[in-house]
């Protein structure tokens, strides 16, 4: 449930029957150090399946923390995070990892590709981790790299690619299992405007084609405006939650 909601008149809300895929219930996150820092403060949210959501806010507002909690990379200090109906709080590290690898794809600002693996190997990585047969992994990785228009660069190492190409590989990797949720942390933050636009277009195309729920953390209002919904954070709290009708 959003703490603040301002629905744009032109954007019809999703049908009430659309099931929630991500739910945050009074979630707080504090970091202990020499002094305690509250990154998220009693946040409650529901994100329905298939929605493309942007999370905006200034530095230190808690955007990345929220994404990390949804992605199971971190655990809340209090409150509950549910992904596809499964509460993450009580899960062991390995169970949490299984949730990540079965339901979530990550796209990072700095790509986080493994430098020693080729594009094909990077994309196939999550599938290998799931124990897929090599041939099937290879087929899927090739298919996805072709989808992100890198069919000619499959055996290249990340160092041999441009920033935009690297992000495409990262997207292909995130999609390798066709996850129901795609989390992107500043996916265009490290790219020039033209490349950033291309990547955003690609994400929107994939969202439209595959129907995944997409949550994008961004500083870029253009990126935010291209999403169905925008949640604004400040000082760890949701200060604005805007639904809009967007055409791809």
């Amino acid at each position: 449930m959003a703490t603040a909601s301002r629905s744009a008149p032109s954007v019809p809300p999703l049908p009430a029957t659309t099931p929630a895929i991500v739910e945050l219930d009074h979630v707080s996150k504090q970091f202990q150090g020499k002094r305690q820092v509250t990154a998220l403060d009693d946040v409650s949210l529901v994100i329905p399946r298939g929605q493309m959501v942007s999370i905006i806010g200034p530095s230190g507002s808690g955007k990345s923390t929220l994404l990390n909690l949804v992605g199971g990379l971190d655990r809340p200090t209090s409150g509950e995070v549910r992904v596809d109906g499964e509460a993450l709080a009580g899960l062991s590290d390995d169970r949490l990892t299984r949730v990540r690898r079965d339901k979530i794809g990550f796209i990072f600002q700095f790509f986080n590709l493994l430098p020693t693996l080729s594009c094909l190997e990077n994309v196939g990585l999550p599938l290998h981790l799931r124990g897929w047969p090599r041939r099937k992994v290879d087929e899927r990785a090739r298919e996805l790299l072709t989808l992100v228009q890198l069919g000619a660069r499959m055996d290249h190492l990340p160092d041999e690619l441009s920033g935009g190409e690297r992000q495409r590989v990262a997207i292909a990797r995130a999609l390798s299992i066709y996850p129901p949720i795609l989390l992107a942390d500043e996916p265009t933050g490290n790219l020039d405007t033209k490349t950033g636009d291309d990547i955003l277009g690609l994400i929107r195309d994939l969202h439209a084609t595959l129907g995944s729920t997409v949550i994008i953390v961004t500083h870029d209002m253009t990126v935010a405006a291209s999403c169905n919904r925008t949640i604004a954070l400040r000082d760890g709290r949701v200060v604005e939650d805007v639904n809009r009708n967007v055409t791809s």
Partner: protein, 852 residues
């Protein structure tokens, strides 16, 4: 100094584990060095202590090797103008037959004169025992024991003590207990005094003494007495102060001491590599810190001194810890050396107290600090050369540059070529050239090890990827991307394994050679011995036993053997006196030099000597050379008529006919009777007959051919027990090096491992990545270690042949040990990876993904 406090100290505190691992390298090296040398020194000191305590006021001793000499010599010595008092002594070490008490040193003395050299104050017992020599003479079963021995075993005057003698087990009566004194502290207090004539009888000495102890007449110098007695007695006798026996003991242990020296130096060298590894990694990781310091105005000299200072402090801490740990393990090593000396050389010696030498400890600490500084010199030099601009940029500093690789290959090729060229000149022609070649070969291998590690890592990547597509590929990539991080660990492991392979190869070659020698030479069916320990020669048989045994049904032939250690060219060597004519008929083996028939004919006629191959090698002897052997009855001057393979003694053997020995040493006793059976006679039956024949009258031990060979192999096992110490060191090196490398590896790859976990890698999968990396390092070390080991083995066999034991050992790669090392090192690598793997899966995922 200020930089050490501001820069180094916080770094050490932050990387406490790595600092400890760095110091552990030096702890290991210094501990092995101190432990082995202290143990060796302790055993030597214990022997000298015993000699010194037993000597009392003795100023000179007259000896003729182990053989002893006739009673007539005593009168000659006593008549010398420079001698105040001269007394005969017999020494025998017997099993005390008391559980946990080990051996008892029995000193046979003539109480009439002996009290002028030694004090025998009695704590209890009738003083008449020592005041009136007739009391002792009249009761040959009398013993005086030390207070220490009596108290430890609840013995008192009147107690009976059964001891094994040449005449079988005899029960001795304790007539007196000596007060604690210098004398009673000899041989760890396990000391007993017996009348010399009783000792002659009990230990089969006939009418001989082992030595004469004497004091010089007032107003005459020891040197004068030495000169007078030397001239009077001739070259067959040694006249020297008691300390001379310690020197002979030391000379006897020379080969063992050399092995200990090589092992401990290698341990230090390996410790140096662990330090080098740590500092090389530290320089790489601290490039940006060095860059900042340089940008702020630190000079190259200050940076160099900073790293050298760190290494000196680490070296000092590690050396102090190593010295303490070395002293802790020295006692255990000393016990094992004591057992080895007893079994291999027949000299029972136990070190109850550690001879801790401040000079050794200071020297070891100094060597440890210097080793540490030397090890850090190259990384310190590299640190000083860091360009501040480049250092502040991010980049891959673990990678070997193409230029560096070229320099390494070129240097290794040049050194390898020089090393190969050195082999053209054999060791016995030029030692410096041979040893230079050896050192250069090792340096060339060390220079090449990073490149070879890299090439091997590239080779195994497809295999690892095939086995585990993600974990295998990432583990191999980690090695490929950071050869600098990996190579020093691999190099340390390589060196360590090369040493193990060389020693194991030497052990295997020795086994093969000894087995071959035993099969062709030791072919009697039974061996009759006066002691359970075949190398103990303090109890002997009379020669009348030969015909007695020959009369036993089933016996076809008896060969009487008398072996004794004598001093030849200032080296203790073994004389083996046998009936050469009989041996010629039972030995199949052809000599290495000389004509078989002519050799045996001339030796049997007393016209020549046969020498062992190892003696010929160590003393540079050839067929036809005339040997001069000092004996109590004069100087034997005979040619070498044959050189044979014989491993009766490490320092070499001179074989001669018994008649010649009897003539020159006036000694017709026997150490071993070799028994050949008639065809069809059963070994167990004849053995029983022999035991029955001497039951209650003589102490005999009968060993079958198989038992004797097993006994010899057991002694050989003990001799090569050092190999297991080296394997332990290799395992420790593997663990230390791999933990060090992996600790850095997981820090370097924190983000990569974070990504792996983020995209779905389970704990088990991340762990496997680290484990595979560790196992791969183990594999690289094993491959390179075996390769260098194969080269090292060649050099070690040459050194053993020419400089240590004179044994001509055939080159044979120790496949069995290598097969054992593979699982051992891989297990060690896996154990080393457990902690780093756990730390890799338990870090914060968010921090790992943000890590730069």
């Amino acid at each position: 100094m200020i930089l050490l406090r501001l820069i180094s100290w916080p770094y050490f505190r932050k990387h406490i584990l790595r600092t400890m691992l760095t110091a552990a390298g030096i702890v290991l090296g210094v501990a092995v060095f101190v432990g082995m040398h202290t143990a060796n020194q302790s055993v030597l000191a214990a022997f000298s202590h015993t000699v010194d305590r037993i000597a009392g006021k003795t100023e000179l001793q007259v000896t003729a090797g182990e053989t002893g000499f006739g009673e007539d010599v005593l009168e000659n010595v006593q008549s010398a103008s420079t001698v105040r008092v001269a007394v005969p002594v017999i020494e025998a070490v017997v099993d005390s037959n008391i559980k946990g008490q080990g051996n008892l040193l029995i000193l046979g003395v003539d109480m009439t004169g002996d009290r002028s050299l030694r004090d025998y104050d009695l704590e209890s017992g009738d003083e008449a025992v020592i005041d009136d020599p007739l009391v002792f003479l009249a009761q040959p079963d009398s013993l005086i024991v030390s207070k220490e021995f009596a108290e430890k075993n609840g013995l008192a005057v009147g107690s009976r003590l059964p001891l094994g003698t040449a005449e079988g087990e005899r029960r001795f009566t304790i007539r007196g207990v000596m007060k604690s004194s210098g004398l009673t502290s000899a041989f760890g207090g396990n000391l007993a005094i017996m009348d010399i004539y009783a000792a002659q009888k009990m230990f089969g000495r006939g009418r001989t003494f082992d030595r004469i102890d004497l004091a010089v007449r007032p107003g005459r110098t020891i040197a004068l007495a030495e000169a007078e007695l030397g001239a009077m007695l001739g070259p067959g006798f040694r006249v020297e102060p008691p300390s001379g026996r310690g020197q002979q003991f030391e000379a006897m242990l020379a080969a063992y001491s050399m092995m200990v020296g090589i092992s401990s130096l290698f341990a230090l060298f390996i410790g140096m590599f662990i330090i080098y590894n740590s500092f090389a990694i530290a320089v790489t990781q601290r490039r940006s810190e060095i860059g900042i310091l340089r940008a702020l105005g630190a000079t190259r000299g200050q940076i160099r001194r900073l790293f050298l200072g760190e290494s000196a402090v680490t070296g000092l801490v590690g050396s102090l810890g190593g010295a303490a740990f070395g002293l802790l393990i020295a006692r255990g090593i000393a016990a094992s050396i004591g057992a080895l000396i007893s079994d291999v050389y027949g000299v029972a010696q136990q070190a109850d107290e550690l001879a801790t030498s401040p000079a050794l400890l200071l020297g070891a600490i100094g060597i440890g600090v210097m080793t540490s500084i030397v090890a850090a010199a190259i990384p310190a030099y590299q640190a000083a050369r860091v360009d501040p601009v480049q250092a502040l940029q991010k980049g891959k500093y673990q990678v070997l540059s193409a230029g560096e690789s070229r320099v390494r290959v070129a240097a290794a090729a040049i050194l390898g070529a020089i090393s190969a060229a050195c082999l053209v000149i054999p060791l016995d022609r030029s030692r410096p050239v041979f040893y230079t070649g050896y050192v250069l070969a090792i340096i060339a291998a060390l220079l090449l090890s990073p490149l070879l590690s890299l090439a091997l890592a590239r080779t195994i990547r497809p295999v690892l990827k095939w086995i585990r597509p993600v974990e295998g590929a990432l583990a191999a990539d980690s090695l490929i991307q950071s050869p600098r991080r990996t190579s020093a660990s691999v190099a340390a492991l390589m060196l360590s394994l090369a040493l193990v392979v060389a020693f194991a190869g030497m052990a295997r070659a020795s086994y093969d050679t000894i087995i071959d020698w035993m099969e062709s030479t030791l072919n009697p069916d039974l061996f009759v011995l006066p002691s359970q320990n075949i190398v103990v020669r303090t109890i002997r048989f009379p020669k009348t036993m030969g015909p007695e045994l020959e009369a036993i049904p089933g016996v076809e032939r008896i060969q009487m053997v008398r072996d004794a250690r004598i001093v030849f060219r200032e080296t203790p060597v073994m004389v083996v006196a046998v009936e050469i004519e009989s041996v010629a008929q039972t030995t199949r083996r052809a000599p290495l030099a000389g004509d078989r028939d002519d050799m045996y004919r001339r030796a049997a006629a007393g016209e020549g000597l046969i020498v062992s191959d190892n003696l010929a090698q160590l003393q540079r002897l050839s067929l036809g050379d005339v040997l001069e052997i000092p004996a109590p009855a004069g100087l034997i001057r005979l040619p070498i008529v044959g050189i044979v393979v014989d491993y009766s003694d490490q320092q070499g053997t001179i074989l001669m006919d018994r008649t010649l020995f009897e003539r020159y040493w006036h000694d017709d006793t026997v150490n071993v009777l070799r028994v050949f059976l008639k065809p069809g006679a059963a070994v167990p039956d004849v053995r029983q007959r022999i035991l029955k024949r001497y039951a209650g009258t003589r102490q005999v031990f009968v060993l079958t051919n198989g038992e004797l060979k097993q006994y010899i192999l057991k002694i050989t096992d003990q001799w090569f027990g050092l190999t297991s110490v080296q394997i332990a060191v290799a395992v420790l090196v593997a663990i230390l090096g791999i933990v060090n490398t992996l600790t850095v590896s997981i820090t370097d790859r924190r983000r990569e491992l974070g990504v792996l976990r983020a995209v779905g890698g389970l704990h088990g999968q991340v762990r496997r990545t680290i484990w595979i990396e560790a196992l791969s390092i183990g594999c690289l070390g094993l491959v390179l270690g075996f390769a260098l080991g194969a080269i090292n083995l060649y050099y070690i066999l040459q050194i053993v042949h020419h400089d240590i034991a004179g044994m001509r050992l055939a080159y044979a790669f120790p496949t069995n040990v290598v097969l054992t090392l593979v699982p051992t090192i891989l297990t060690a690598a896996f154990v080393a990876a457990i902690w780093p793997a756990e730390s890799a899966v338990h870090g914060s995922l968010v921090e790992a993904l943000e890590y730069e």
